[in-house]
């Protein structure tokens, strides 16, 4: 077991409230209880998305302004809460006309709905360092339940990072323009980093 995976395992075990494994004491586990607490999602995070198009390729982009928190419960990760908000106005795709189209009433309608919000309602551990996050996504005035898969990528005393992936059907949020030329599914691929509060 590498030192890195040791740390991840140790962090998750703590997060998941598992009783200390004998290996842990040998790992000179830093104050693992510190994993619990509140983390503010910081600007080093990458909120990337992709919408496939017929014949291959598609639109890839990212959002540059967002905020949020992880509140990791001491002892039980399933009681933790993730909150996230992003500002669709800040969408970047490398083609200004596509960005303006995404901001328009056809898609995000950023003038009327400047914020997209996610709040977890249920977190289920799915593996050693993975979990499924279920929660309410509110976009363009509609709230629906969505699922994302999270993998712990880094953790230390002050910083925690997750790789979070998931697909969202845009028809649910009144953003169905361009189907079937462009896929209904928006694939999110995010590196979300939090700094201990």
């Amino acid at each position: 077991m590498s030192a890195h995976s040791m740390v991840i395992t140790a962090a998750l075990m703590t997060l998941a409230g598992l009783v200390a494994h004998p290996a842990l004491s040998q790992a000179k586990a830093p104050t693992l209880d510190d994993a619990a607490g509140r983390y503010d999602i910081d600007g080093s995070s990458q909120i990337n998305f992709k919408v496939g198009q017929v014949g291959g390729g598609g639109i890839s982009g990212k959002f540059t302004k967002f905020s949020g928190t992880f509140q990791l419960d001491r002892g039980d990760i399933e009681k933790s809460v993730v909150e996230f908000a992003l500002f669709p106005e800040t969408v970047q795709t490398g083609e200004p006309r596509i960005e303006n189209f995404l901001r328009s009433t056809a898609v995000f309608d950023t003038a009327s709905y400047p914020k997209i919000v996610f709040r977890s309602t249920k977190i289920t551990r799915t593996g050693e360092d993975t979990a499924q996050i279920e929660g309410n996504l509110t976009a363009k005035g509609t709230t629906r339940t969505e699922h994302f898969d999270a993998t712990l990528t880094k953790w230390n005393r002050r910083v925690i990072g997750f790789h979070i992936q998931g697909g969202v059907y845009r028809t649910r949020y009144d953003m169905s323009v361009g189907i079937p030329i462009y896929s209904n599914i928006v694939e999110f691929d995010m590196m979300v980093n939090g700094q201990k509060h």
Partner: protein
């Protein structure tokens, strides 16, 4: 009569003429409406895709019609036309035939060079590939300008052409319009 006769148009010519005429008239109106700057962006996206699908349909039919035209005999002009009128109508027909190919081709070229890279999904059935042209804002602007100028040029010629046909029918009371409406045994 499917084929043109010595002084009559056959049904193939007539059917192609009027199908293409309706398509192109529709495409001209659609092209104009969908490019108005204050149009709803979602409606605009959808209208652009309809325009491309119908535009490709027009291109296909226009290729068939030009081939048919090249392979067909050309009925002699209606009696009573002066030499100048014959040449003028012949020149306008050739010009219109060329434009009915050039306009959709420039449309295809502009869609192909656009940095938006929106696939042409023919009536949501099959993807029509882009022409092998480099994508750039410069190329897209150039082809867009060419498409607009040629399309409105075609519109002007068609108006002239239709006015001439109506003039023959209602003022000169000759057979020019009627023989493009139905085929007769010659």
């Amino acid at each position: 009569m499917l084929r043109n006769g010595p002084d009559t148009f056959g049904w193939v010519t007539i059917l192609l003429h009027w199908t293409i005429a309706i398509l192109i008239a529709g495409l001209l109106v659609l092209g104009y409406i969908m490019t108005r700057p204050d149009i709803d962006p979602m409606l605009q996206f959808d209208l652009f895709q309809w325009h491309k699908s119908f535009g490709f349909t027009a291109l296909g039919l226009c290729i068939i019609r030009v081939l048919w035209w090249l392979a067909s005999r050309h009925p002699v002009a209606v009696a009573g036309l002066s030499v100048r009128e014959k040449w003028a109508s012949f020149a306008v027909h050739i010009l219109i035939l060329c434009l009915t190919l050039a306009v959709p081709f420039t449309g295809w070229a502009l869609a192909s060079t656009s940095t938006l890279d929106i696939p042409s999904f023919y009536f949501n059935l099959v993807v029509i590939p882009h022409l092998p042209l480099d994508k750039s804002t410069v190329a897209e602007t150039l082809w867009t300008t060419a498409h607009a100028i040629l399309a409105y040029g075609l519109a002007a010629l068609v108006l002239l052409h239709a006015a001439a046909a109506l003039h023959h029918h209602f003022i000169r009371h000759d057979a020019v319009l009627v023989r493009m409406l139905r085929s007769r045994r010659s």
